[in-house]
């Protein structure tokens, strides 16, 4: 069984043996950008509104201040995204913005729609 010895995830690790310290381990990095073309980042902690993250965007380090809470594993914007514009993660389009998304905004189903499997738009087959 492969078990982590130390994780940089912000989580409480249960003590499994003496070599594993039982403590909350603080992340050095609180979020990850997967591709230089991305306009969203993925959080690696339960981030709070007002948190400022130092992130490398397009070769330069930028400070992004969160406008809302962003849970672990969820996304926030790195730049202003206009309505009907693509939201990009992994360097690929993951959906379309439905409203103006400002830098630091939480990005999820309330402001992004899919362009695939949209039977509601095509009307389906009767």
């Amino acid at each position: 069984m492969a078990i982590c010895s130390v994780s940089w995830l912000h989580c409480k690790m249960t003590k499994r043996d003496e070599s594993i310290p039982e403590e909350v381990i603080e992340l050095k990095q609180k979020a990850v950008i997967l591709n230089s073309r991305d306009n969203v980042a993925t959080s690696l902690a339960n981030l709070k509104a007002g948190d400022t993250l130092e992130l490398e965007v397009g070769g330069e380090t930028r400070a992004i201040k969160l406008t809302t809470d962003v849970p672990f594993g969820h996304k926030f914007s790195l730049s202003r995204i206009e309505p009907d514009s693509p939201v990009i993660k992994y360097g690929e389009v993951i959906g379309i913005a439905t409203v103006i998304i400002e830098p630091g905004d939480y990005v999820h189903i309330h402001n992004v729609v899919s362009t695939r499997g949209r039977g509601d738009l095509s009307g389906g087959v009767k």
């Binding site: 940089w8 993951i94 999820h108 499997g117 389906g124």
Partner: protein, 386 residues
């Protein structure tokens, strides 16, 4: 390096050595189940299909049951038929027998009902398991390894960690001359162009695009936004916003190698290398299609903790979500550590997963196996029950 497996007459190599008790139709499930509970060394395959369906679906069920019988983890098969179902039990028996394995059949309506069928079926299965028990494990090269990969109950950690680690293991299988099989066509939507670039031929690339378009037409035909069904409510709670985002993370588990072929549901890929089988990603149907494709072992990547096994194929559950790993220790076999150097961590986890696949192929039990978790699979069908 090598692993210890069971040699089959047709040249395939098993990681387990069961006699499959296989229902030809849902109405035979209870008898199938009781025989399997009666006879040690036998294993049931029960499902809800096989009758009152249109011909395309009956063809899928027939070829899937035949291919399951060919799976190298089975030393032989006992078919349990009701007697009046739409699929032909004789045709299925004949198809499995072509693998060179022993095949028996019991028909409930002919032998006089449930009690007789369970009694006679158990006697048949008992003789088959005793015969199978004489086969000993022997060493085979790693090139005989056939691994299936799957993700389920995905969250953001799946695309970041456990899927790439699974993909790294899949690449190692291919590098060592073996075979890796993936699919979950719905979860190619939005990422199919990336897979098509890895196709061995333009025909394979076109087939990848075609199976995704076909699956999307089935989904949109219902007249609803797919979101909520795909991605699931759990995926959304885990941070996945759209099917495109889910797909881009999901395809990582298929590694980076050339895709040699695309097969229909229930078909058996020919040759070695990386293949796609067309199927939606739901566990019940997808684990079945992997077993039908002939995999010995399945690596199952999860974020939130779905890790059902399959009756006769061991499933190795892997997660990169530390909270899930802590909470579901009795489900999960491998944890992928997120390290400062993500690429190094994933490569290391891929090696660990590959080693685990070899160990499990040689007989090491997975957690799902020891729990007997995964007895109720199904077969994918495309049309209505009529």
């Amino acid at each position: 390096m090598s692993f210890l497996g069971y040699r089959r007459q047709n040249g395939s190599v098993g990681a387990r050595n069961y006699i499959g008790i296989i229902s030809t139709v849902g109405c035979a499930n209870d008898v199938t189940w009781r025989i399997s509970q009666q006879v040690k060394g036998s294993i049931p395959f029960i499902h809800g299909q096989g009758c009152a369906q249109t011909q395309p679906d009956l063809d899928i069920v027939t070829r899937t049951l035949i291919s399951l019988g060919w799976n190298p983890n089975l030393a032989g098969a006992l078919l349990v038929s009701l007697g009046c179902e739409s699929v032909s039990a004789d045709k299925i028996a004949q198809g499995i027998a072509e693998s060179g394995k022993p095949v028996e059949k019991i028909v409930i309506q002919k032998v006089g009902g449930v009690t007789s069928a369970v009694a006679q079926g158990s006697v048949l299965a008992q003789a088959m398991t005793i015969e199978a028990s004489r086969i000993e494990r022997e060493a085979f090269p790693e090139s005989e390894l056939v691994v299936g990969v799957k993700c389920g109950a995905s969250d953001s950690t799946s695309g970041l960690l456990s899927n790439p680690a699974t993909g790294a293991a899949c690449d190692l299988v291919i590098d060592n001359g073996g075979t890796c099989i993936f699919g979950e066509t719905t979860e190619f939507m939005g990422a199919e162009h990336i897979l098509a670039r890895r196709a061995a031929t333009p025909q394979v690339a076109n087939k990848i695009m075609d199976i995704v378009a076909r699956m999307e037409r089935r989904a949109t035909a219902m007249g609803f936004d797919m979101r909520g069904g795909q991605p699931t409510g759990g995926n959304i709670a885990g941070g996945l916003t759209t099917i495109e985002e889910k797909s881009l993370g999901a395809i990582a588990k298929g590694g980076t190698k050339t895709i040699k072929g695309v097969y229909e549901y229930g078909e058996r890929p020919q040759g070695k290398g990386l293949f796609i089988v067309d199927s939606p990603g739901r566990e019940l149907e997808f684990l079945t299609v992997l077993a039908a494709a002939g995999v010995q072992v399945i690596i199952f990547s999860t974020g939130l903790g779905a890790s059902p096994g399959f009756p006769f194929v061991p499933v190795i559950a892997v997660t990169g979500n530390p909270i899930t790993y802590e909470r579901l220790t009795d489900h999960l076999d491998v944890f992928v550590e997120l390290t400062e150097e993500a690429a190094t961590g994933i490569a290391r986890a891929g090696k660990a997963l590959y080693q685990e696949a070899l160990a499990v192929a040689s007989g090491k039990q997975t957690k799902a196996e020891t729990m007997g978790y995964g007895n109720f699979p199904n077969i994918f069908t495309i049309g209505p029950v009529i």
